[in-house]
């Protein structure tokens, strides 16, 4: 599970370098995210631009990361591809997460908040 991070003041960006987060990789994703977010503070923006496929295990892992960060930190998402967006919408998880149309919007949103 390749994740690329970028640290700004009060903002950690994580770009998922894999094309899927699925049952075969969900646990690894969750563990990597827990490790990466331990040393930073502030918001975490997960950029899913390269993720073409997400199943319920992958969705559960993203929810788990949000719960790990709560209550002091938030997990936001950006750049959902069509199938990933559909999974979030059909499970109503689109109402639980702040979802930005692009990573740039997510960063500027965080900077102005």
């Amino acid at each position: 599970m390749q994740l690329q991070t970028q640290t700004r003041p009060r903002l950690l960006s994580v770009l998922v370098m894999e094309d899927r987060i699925d049952a075969a990789s969900a646990i690894q994703f969750k563990e990597r995210m827990r490790d990466l977010t331990q040393t930073a503070d502030g918001r975490v923006v997960l950029d899913l631009a390269r993720v073409m496929f997400l199943d319920s295990s992958g969705l559960g892992a993203i929810v788990a990361v949000k719960k790990l960060l709560a209550p002091d930190r938030v997990l936001e998402l950006s750049s959902l591809t069509p199938t990933v967006e559909k999974v979030f919408r059909l499970t109503r998880m689109d109402t639980i997460f702040t979802i930005h149309p692009s990573h740039e919007v997510a960063v500027s949103h965080a900077a102005s908040a």
Binding site: D22, V63, T91
Partner: protein, 151 residues
Amino acid sequence: MRPAPDLKASVQTLHLVFAAEPDAVRDGLARMMALPPLSGLSDDDRGTAEVVLAEVLNNVAEHAYANGPGTVAVTLVPVGLGLDCLVVDQGVAMPDNRLPAGKLTAGPGTPVEDLPEGGFGWHLIRVLTRNLSYAREGGCNRLSFTLPNGG
């Protein structure tokens, strides 16, 4: 010499058997998605098919074969307005011989600590398919459903 394009490819039936465990499911899905009839669907329908098949196959891996390894057979048959799918395994039966309800437990306003980390799979299967049916026959689980085009 290149083989002539197969004009019947879009109406071909696909039958695949593979091990029901996460890495093999991922590989099996990738093979299926690259072959007719799934390869001929619109991007949107392919995405839907991949989500449904992944959920169904991972359920087989995690629940039907929770006690040990086994194989799963997938048959996809193009029908008028979609794809008829049959998934057969020799694992343990569904609890009470019926399909889980797949009710969502969270929505707008659910506190973060109460968010579920699972239970999305059957909801996705139910909303994305038609004619969903389950039977326990001869020691096999037989799950059938239709993936509608433009669904």
